[in-house]
């Protein structure tokens, strides 16, 4: 029944280093910056090809559509990689019918903050590739150029229903570099994993981390951090002006920053404290860019209205706190308060930042939902499901393709053994673009090359 093996031939075009300026200074070269504007990510664009998709109707399940709704006894039909319909009594005589009675169906779960691949398992120094901690501004580096395709952690996340994840550089730097959104599929090249059409992101970081890492050379204070961001943006503005005269100018660092100023690259900003998030909004106003999402935001609840007014998402943990001073003012209702701001206009996201937490984002959402209800909010399970589906898709700029169960969208789907807000429920099947990627009953999942030979014992 299942295509277990990749039979897709893809050619990864290796580009010679001479074509690309590796430094960060202005460097006129033959290659054109427009290469990166023609299609998303230029020669590094996605070469992802889905596995063999199925034609399936899952009947009579309880279905969370990711748009805030929970439907009982509902059907979903997908084929050719896309969702064809959701509703009652769906029929297609060519479709395989799966009895969903007693099961729950959700969109594929999306984690918009992961370091899988750049901090793979085993966690050894030779593959610790997440922080280019050599300069506070490294907007020129791309996380996708660190990702190890054989990280054995991907399949563990897949068993938790994760179909899409966003890999970010670490938070040592003011500007950590570009992030990349990946489909949770096994491949030998990063472009083969890249989510087609997903915009690049830029990781920025506030607070303790940059000022600690660079304390001897600066920035060593939060005001030093802010001066560092502003100085870099001023440099980016100058570069953009130079581009008008000479469109062939290459400068990796400033290409990323100008991409943000032009609205093509989404800012994902690690920032814990409310006052610092507000400052980052001031900076974005000064230079005319938009923050897509604040990450970690342990104090987001203190400025929930501001975030809602600005249309900024907050990607948060359900309950992490206390590991740093800027993570001390935790409220377990943080996610709920952000969600409910301005009468429900907030964009709250449950993120993991953690190869363990990514395996149970549904449970993290359950804790946040319970805390919100305890704090007095009337929040439905359907609404809480948006925190790990629709909202992260929105924050990553891929909501048109995935994140909800709607006709025409990618058939990224999870079948759960029971209510995903219960600790006893497990993902039973995961479909990515309509192709079966994980099946608990038959122990089907991708195994990386690293898994071979070292596994004395296989997960059931």
């Amino acid at each position: 029944m299942l295509g277990r093996f990749f039979s897709v031939l893809t050619i990864f075009l290796l580009i010679s280093c001479s074509e690309i300026s590796m430094g960060s200074g202005n460097n006129g070269s033959n290659s054109s910056a427009s290469k990166f504007e023609d299609s998303i990510h230029g020669t590094y664009a996605s070469t992802y090809v889905p596995l063999q998709s199925e034609n399936i109707i899952i009947k009579n399940s309880t279905l969370f559509d990711g748009n805030g709704n929970k439907f009982e006894n509902y059907d979903i039909h997908f084929s050719d990689g896309d969702i064809k319909a959701i509703g009652s009594d769906l029929k297609d005589e060519n479709a395989i019918v799966i009895d969903g009675t007693g099961k729950f169906v959700t969109p594929g779960i999306i984690d918009n903050h992961s370091h899988m691949g750049v901090y793979p398992a085993p966690g050894v120094s030779t593959s610790s590739d997440g922080n280019e901690a050599t300069n506070p501004v490294t907007a020129e580096v791309w996380a996708e150029h660190s990702v190890w395709t054989q990280d054995p952690q991907y399949k563990l996340a897949l068993a938790g229903g994760i179909t899409t994840f966003h890999v970010l550089p670490g938070s040592a730097n003011l500007f950590g570099g570009r992030g990349v959104t990946l489909k949770n599929v096994s491949a030998n090249t990063v472009p083969d994993m890249k989510f087609p059409g997903a915009p690049h992101s830029l990781k920025m970081a506030c607070g303790e981390n940059p000022k600690r890492v660079y304390r001897s050379r600066g920035p060593s204070t939060r005001m030093g951090n802010v001066a560092g961001y502003r100085t870099a943006w001023i440099g980016a503005e100058k570069f953009r002006n130079s581009l008008e005269k000479n469109p062939d100018l290459r400068d990796l660092r400033n290409e990323t920053l100008v991409g943000v100023l032009d609205g093509k690259i989404l800012v994902h900003n690690h920032c814990y404290r409310a006052d610092e998030m507000a400052t980052m909004i001031n900076i974005s106003d000064e230079f005319g860019y938009k923050v897509s999402t604040f990450h970690h935001g342990v104090e987001a609840y203190k400025i929930a209205d501001l975030l809602a007014d600005e249309g900024i998402c907050a990607a948060l943990w359900a309950d992490w706190w206390g590991f740093k001073h800027e993570a001390y003012d935790m409220s377990i209702a943080n996610i709920a308060i952000v969600d409910q701001a301005r009468g429900g206009k907030g964009c709250a996201i449950v993120h993991s930042d953690d190869a363990s937490g990514i395996q149970r984002l549904n449970q993290e959402a359950a804790k946040a939902l319970a805390a919100g209800r305890k704090a007095g909010f009337d929040i439905s399970e359907g609404r809480a499901m948006t925190w790990i589906t629709k909202n992260p898709a929105k924050s990553l700029g891929i909501l048109e393709q995935t994140g909800t169960l709607e006709e025409g969208k990618d058939a990224d789907i999870v079948i759960w053994s029971g209510n995903p807000f219960s600790i006893y429920s497990k993902a039973e099947q995961v479909y990515i673009d309509g192709a079966l990627a994980f099946d608990k009953a038959s122990n089907f999942m991708p195994h990386t090359d690293f898994d071979l030979g070292v596994k004395e014992w296989e997960d059931k």
Binding site: P122, S356, A375, W457
Partner: protein, 422 residues
């Protein structure tokens, strides 16, 4: 006599005393046999006195109506609660030491007013086994403390000595094993090395590295293990290392507890034969080192199938600050197939039992009245704690996190200056 609804308990807390009698009525109660059965509990002078189908008017000062609720022993967690306030600030960390290693006992640093303690208490934790984190070859001595509010907590210790075995940057594990055996011999042959003990607190070096520095206090702590006063807890991941440690403990006649034990499932029968207990987090399924390439969610299940007794801790996310999430570790073990009764005992009875603590972790006459009333299944993450008794005393469940929440919901529209402190 007061008959109080559980939701109205808060005003009574300040007037509650340890010698008050409590009657908890009609809750689905987690009994020693692992069943939830509807029972009444009578609590007096800090202990559970009666567990019966029906207890009439016995003059209890406080009656808690637990109809439709779940009643369990308080969670006993492994943590650094009260020893560590903010992870990145070493000055708020009393869980570690560079002066001592084996002889390091952090329990004197315990701060009952830690915000982490208030949070964990409100989430159903009644006591903790404090985990030492000294930087040397040995990490120090475990101890036990209740986490009731106020200045006075019942403490016990030292309970066990913690060390680690496995991959190391500095040396072969063979050399490190020999070093420990040499150290044991040295201590066992104390008469000929008496000067070590007489020269109090003089540092004794085996070589130049700080890791191998021992004071007389450290050597005395190791002696507690050698004379079987306390168990040795070994943090170890790799299957072959577990066998090495089992054999060492057998030869050296040491009472052994395994900790972490990612690959224990591969040698489950060997562990079961030796009767060694294992403390682990069932969620540790990532092959995060070359010592743990066979990490799996199946670890707890396979150990249980072999007959190994386990206690669970929560080692994910923010760790000790959220030690109460031992319920999440236990609940996931159930989802993977572990018997519910065993999972709940792994976070209540077993942590106490493994470390020689008696009368803690069960709802039975004679046990400490450390009791939690939940609105639903305690292993479900959406359940809430409604009441916590520690040592027979009703606990204040307020915490700074809820206070911050209230401030930004109930007082959201007030200018900061007019917001209250409660």
């Amino acid at each position: 006599m007061k008959i109080v609804n559980i939701f109205l308990l808060i005003p009574f807390i300040i007037f509650s005393h340890a010698d008050d009698m409590y009657l908890i009525k009609g809750g689905m109660t987690f009994l020693p046999n692992g069943e939830f059965v509807k029972k009444d509990l009578l609590i007096d002078e800090g202990q559970i006195v009666l567990v019966e189908d029906e207890i009439g008017d016995v003059g209890a000062e406080n009656i808690i109506n637990a109809e439709g609720k779940y009643v369990t022993p308080g969670l006993v967690v492994f943590s650094t609660l009260g020893l560590l306030e903010i992870g990145s600030l070493p000055q708020t960390n009393d869980a570690s030491s560079n002066i001592y290693n084996a002889g390091f006992d952090p329990s004197k640093s315990f701060n009952p007013f830690s915000q982490a303690i208030r949070l964990n208490r409100s989430k159903g934790v009644s006591s903790t086994i404090l985990v030492p984190q000294a930087s040397g070859y040995f990490s120090g001595l475990f101890s036990y403390t209740k986490i009731n509010s106020g200045l006075k907590q019942e403490k016990k210790g030292p309970l066990a000595l913690l060390t680690s075995f496995g991959e190391s940057y500095s040396d072969s594990r063979s050399a490190e094993l020999n070093f420990v055996l040499d150290l044991f011999n040295l201590i066992r042959n104390r008469p000929s090395e008496k000067w070590l003990y007489e020269t109090d607190n003089i540092q004794f070096f085996f070589g130049s590295q700080n890791d191998y520095k021992f004071t007389s206090r450290d050597l005395q702590a190791i002696e507690l293990v050698l004379n079987k006063s306390i168990p040795l807890v070994v943090r170890v991941k790799k299957a072959t290392d577990i066998i090495t440690i089992l054999e060492m403990a057998d030869t050296e006649k040491i009472d052994l507890v395994l900790w972490g034990a990612n690959e224990a499932h591969m040698v489950a029968d060997r562990i079961a034969e030796s009767g060694v207990r294992v403390v682990l987090d069932p969620l540790d399924n990532i092959p995060d080192s070359f010592d743990s390439l066979n990490s799996t969610y199946e670890n707890a299940i396979r150990l249980d199938a072999a007959g190994v007794e386990m206690a669970f801790y929560y080692a994910q996310g923010a760790g000790s600050h959220n030690a109460y999430l031992a319920t999440q570790s236990a609940g996931n073990a159930v989802a993977m197939g572990l018997d519910y009764r065993k999972a709940l005992k792994a976070i209540t009875l077993n942590p106490a039992k493994f470390f020689g603590l008696e009368n803690i972790g069960l709802i039975a006459p004679g046990f400490d009245a450390d009791i939690v009333v939940w609105d639903n299944d305690p292993l479900e993450l959406m359940s809430n704690v409604e009441a916590v008794l520690i040592g027979g005393e009703m606990q204040d469940l307020s915490n700074r996190q809820d206070e911050l929440t209230d401030r930004y919901i109930k007082e959201k529209d007030k200018p900061n200056s007019y917001r209250s402190r409660e």
